[in-house]
């Protein structure tokens, strides 16, 4: 994805991760800023279904040629689905970070955490600083 994009139906974490919340399930991924800083993603290994994730803590790694980055969980919960397609096409994380580049889906442990996340405007403002 060539141009910065931060859809406003998503919620953002300051460590450059997004969440799309639908009832008690959230889809997670990394933002345009994160994939741009990383460069072309070459490897992503999904964590196992059933793994518990905790807000503000790393739950996976994304690798480019010359860098490894922790992926921080914006919300707490249990992994119920992973994006298997990224095994063959990790570059979707760059091309479509909010669509085909989704990483995992979790069942939320505590919906109240959603309110602590940033909206589009607040997240973009944090990038400027």
């Amino acid at each position: 994805m060539a141009e910065p994009s931060y859809p406003d139906d998503l919620r953002y974490h300051p460590e450059h991760d997004w969440a799309r919340v639908e009832d008690d399930v959230a889809t997670l991924g990394i933002t345009w800023f994160a994939q741009e800083a990383l460069g072309e993603v070459v490897f992503f290994e999904s964590p196992a279904i059933g793994t518990a994730v905790r807000k503000d803590e790393p739950y996976a790694e994304v690798e480019s040629v010359k860098a490894v980055s922790d992926v921080i969980a914006p919300l707490s919960g249990e992994i119920v689905e992973v994006n298997e397609a990224l095994g063959d096409s990790p570059e979707q994380i760059n091309h479509d970070p909010y669509g085909e580049g989704w990483l995992v889906k979790i069942r939320l442990a505590d919906s109240a955490e959603v309110d602590e996340l940033l909206d589009t405007a607040a997240y973009q403002a944090s990038l400027g600083s």
Binding site: G39, E40, V42, F43, E63, S64, V65, K66, P90, E91
Partner: protein, 532 residues
Amino acid sequence: MTVDTQTPQQREQVKTIFEKSHPGRRAATLPALDVPARSLDELIPAVSRRASPPALPEISEPEIVRHYNRLSQRNFDLDSGFYPLGSCTMKHNPKLHERVAALPGNARLHPAQVPARAQGALELMWHLECALSEIAGLPHVSLQPSAGSHGELAGVLLTRAYHEDRGEHRTKVLTPDTAHGTNPATVTMAGYEVVKVGTAPDGGVDVDDLIAKADEQVACLMLTNPNTLGLFDSNIAEIARIVHGVGATLYYDGANLNAIMGVTRPGDMGFDIVHFNLHKSFTQPHGGGGPGSGPIAVSERMEPYLPRPVLVRRHGDERAGSAGSGDVAGTTGGDRAGAENGDRPGSEPAFYELDFERPKSIGRLRGFQGNYGVFVRAYAYICSLGADGLRDVAETSVLNANYLLARLRRAGVAEYLPVAYDRLCMHEFVLSGAPMKRELKIRTLDLAKRLLDHGFHPPTVYFPLLVDEALLIEPTETETRETLDAFADVIAEILREAREDPEIARNAPYSTPVRRLDEARAAKHPVIRQRR
């Protein structure tokens, strides 16, 4: 009609040696069977035998020679050009060293040969240990580790053994955020947690941060001085006090020893353990990625834990069997034996052997004694230079680095590649390519690739991590002023060119055997062996 200006190497369709294989061809000549032939089934049961031979190449000697000679021509090398790789100390490899390493008494000596018939080798190792001890300012040496990071691992395991022997179970090791990646990797392998210490605005260790983090859970602080920014930390004595004050050890990464040999010594600064990179300051050729050697020198309190065996020297009637009567290298205060064989006047000749009775040793880090072939070269170097020559190395390497820095602070360069720390450097210095990226739209990577077209190997790039778009430059003492001037001129030229047209550097190099390579593809779909 346009002419294809590719070089022969650029045109060449490279083939691997496997692709040059033809059934039936062969280079090796082997002796004929001269013992009564028995059936192979009798000798080795079929279940343990290989069913089909490994698909190694079938190729003649002339083809092997031609293949590797042509491959070699696709390499840039130190004998051919300037290699200002920061932290690597790419100094000239004296040619005498290959000659002495190849002497049959060295090259064809079996590592398990009994000491009585390997006295030349053991004595050489002894003299090398004494020299390294003197250079480091620490009394005890082990030549066993095979590379710098191997020496680091030895050092941290020694630290662990030291603390455990006192009944203390510490959990953390401190490293500066400018540390070479081998430092934190080593810490984890040795079972400790890495804690990073910050860097102060002047480039030295942030002493306040160190004080905050130094507690009795800390086993060790790993440092190098000068550090990876090429800066000497004048607070080193205070740092040593703080570290020793909490009962931790102080470890010296010897990658930057070139700047200080004969001028100051890590042992005198308070370090407990020092590793040397014989393939950096001591001219072992880099070989495209090894071999190296990473001996360590340690303080008295660390001595019991040294890897085993330890080299000892005994005199005449004090031969094997009388435990504890031997000398250990360094304790006799320097070694002026040199060409002599270490005799005390009027006594029996010295006898060198390996002492395995080391109850507190951390054990072995590898087989046999270490990379002896590297010891031979390093020892020849030390003999050639002598005390005065080694000090010359430090002075000239620091002079060359400061001179090159001064040339690169001239107008036309300094505004795009400012030095990261505005002070005198030691044997290397760091520039930041951040302004260049902003103003000229080319990155440190592009500058490096364009340097290749000018026949220079680029400096170390993107390390240390603390500096944005870092360029770490270490000219070493074996480069002439003309070379340094030429390099500075080329940097200026590339920047000038980028002001006109940044695309040129962005698509460089043009004249090398291959252009920029698709590293993402290699990582995503690894092909790490020839397909059958």
